[in-house]
Amino acid sequence: MSAARKLFVVIVTTAILLGLNWIFEYGVGDFQVNPYYARIINLIGINITLAVSLNLINGLAGQFSIGHAGFMAVGGYTATYVTVYFGRQLAALAGSTLAGAAGASLVMVLSLIAGALAAALAGLVVGIPSLRLKGDYLAIVTLGFGEIIRVVILNIPSVGGATGFTDAIPITNFFWIFAMAIMTIVIVRNIAVSTFGRALTAVRADEIAAEAMGVDTTRYKVLAFVISAGLAGVAGGLSGQLFANPLNPQNLNFVKSIEVIVMIVLGGIGSITGAVFGATTLTILPEALRTFDQQFPGLRMVLYALLLILLMIFRPQGLFGRRELGWSWLRLPGRRPAIDGGVR
């Protein structure tokens, strides 16, 4: 694709997002977006970023990470910290304030960069030991890392401790959430279809064989961790600075990590479309089940656990398996090409 065409796509996308953002905040004529649904849509966007970024490690590289919430926490707290303690000065650099569009945008970008870098660093710290560990052990180490992060944050008063980072300034909006979600999808998709992605697929299939074939598994695994963590950090920064959504260490624990895992498992580990689908479904589902919840309190979570078990038993590959959404889905049955080998 030529440079001009790329630029065109980027501009059009940005314009569309800005337009939608306007609609979200101010409505159109007599219509507005229902605030409750708007909030859910925003949460979907953040979860998409989380799920797709996790897919890079768990899906493409086949490494088993259950500490994703830890990266989200590191990135989120760093980003929010930057805004809360340096926001005003930074906004002034743009000749604006935090309430103004220019100031808020600049601060948002800077805080997300800070969050992404911090989270990426954390990803490096976790990624390096991962070289020596496989499968279950790696899973437990990532779990442990996530828990350590949680305990450390709990003990830092300047970011709120157990009360949560309630000093956060709500500069997140629809535009940033979905701009970042789309960016994440593009990044991961590009990785997937590149040499990097092929290397990861090799590592996933059989690491020792890949090493024997000359693939630098070390480099690619660590890189996957770093990028994935950085993107999770962005999600964290967006989440913590969303209106009425303060970061809280108690809820950035391994249960949260598992929720993200369920998202990609539901959609199909290794499929970006699957991750998007899973994120969307699992954000909407708890909300949609609220009325059910009122009749049978607590049963909602029991059903959620059952769903997980049944999914693993009957359809472990999730909805999309490793496939992506494409026009081939619209072809008439009987003429579908065999993907991943064999007939389904």
């Binding site: 899973a139 437990i140 890392f145 828990e147 305990v151 598992i258 656990a305 038993i313 472990p316």
Partner: protein, 299 residues
């Protein structure tokens, strides 16, 4: 000196709890290569089973050692059945899928037990009846309760018992064979399904015993009590060498001592993180664990 000795006793008592739960973890992992996340929740079920049995027998009013033992055995029996059910219904169907799938299934079972427990038992903590009168023994400036002593003694006894079963009995031999290579063990005529079920039953029974003993010492029980304990017990098992029985004991004691040690310092708020910090360290330095044997990875 007093304080140091007291902390030592505290650490060993805490460690014995982790050790008891770790024994079950290590056994199941040894045979199936599965991290049974639900193990901590079986421990919780053991405590609740004991609670209901003890209340039915009205033991709070008539504490008695004999009945206490019966309650414990009752809880162990209940959880052995639960363990077998979990294995049969949730783990066996995914046994031949990828490790990731098994792990996620285990997580699912764990969540099911926790949330299910909250619905069935209610989330409010209950208090376990006093089946045995509490007594405090004092030696110099050091205090220890009879329950803590009981926990330490029982876990050591269990460890020896388990070791005996695994190394001196036929079923134990079958377990070891299955843990080396499942398919070959089947070829050799071992009923691996039975062996696996037996392993789960045994591990779950141990967890139940731990649950009842802990509930005796610290009478508060609630559906989420297995979460943290289970995780730390798993770390203990890995620390000592996963699949290794004395290792689980050693690991449990070490984690207990380290947590207590940290609790004694100014960094007590980081106690929860200790277990995980240790885990990461040990996996970097000696992944096989302290008593484990490092095996080469075959292709």
């Amino acid at each position: 000196m007093d304080t140091f000795l007291q902390q030592l006793i505290n650490g060993l008592s805490l460690g014995a709890i982790y050790a008891l739960v770790a024994l079950g973890y290590t056994m199941v992992y040894g045979v199936l290569r599965l991290i049974n996340f639900a193990h901590g929740d079986v421990y919780m079920l053991g405590a609740f089973a004991g609670y209901f049995i003890a209340n039915a027998l009205k033991l709070d009013a008539n504490p008695s050692v004999l009945w206490a033992i019966l309650v414990t055995m009752g809880a162990m029996a209940v959880c052995a059945v639960v363990g077998i059910l979990i294995e049969r219904l949730a783990y066996r169907p995914v046994r031949h899928h990828s490790r990731l799938t098994s792990l996620i299934t285990a997580i699912g079972v764990s969540l099911l037990l926790e949330y299910g427990g909250q619905v069935v038992f209610g989330a409010t903590p209950r208090f376990f009846p006093q089946m045995v009168r509490s007594e405090i023994y004092s030696l110099g400036g050091v205090q220890i309760t009879n329950q803590s002593l009981l926990i330490i003694v029982v876990s050591v006894v269990m460890m020896f018992g388990l070791h005996f079963i695994v190394h001196r009995t036929k079923i134990g031999k079958a377990m070891r064979a299955t843990s080396f290579n499942l398919s070959v063990a089947t070829l050799m005529g071992i009923n691996t399904d039975f062996v696996i079920a037996f392993t789960f039953a045994l591990g779950s029974a141990l967890a139940a015993a731990a649950g009842v003993l802990v509930a005796l010492a610290i009478p508060r029980i609630d559906p989420l009590m297995g979460l943290m304990t289970g995780l730390k017990a798993f770390v203990a098992a890995v620390l000592g060498g996963i699949g290794n029985i004395p290792g689980a004991m050693l690991g449990g004691m070490l984690i207990g001592l380290m947590e207590t040690g940290l609790g004694a310092t100014a960094y007590s708020t980081y106690r929860d993180a200790v277990a995980f910090g240790v885990l990461i360290l040990i996996l970097l330095v000696r992944p096989a664990g302290i008593l484990g044997t490092a095996g080469p990875e075959k292709v």
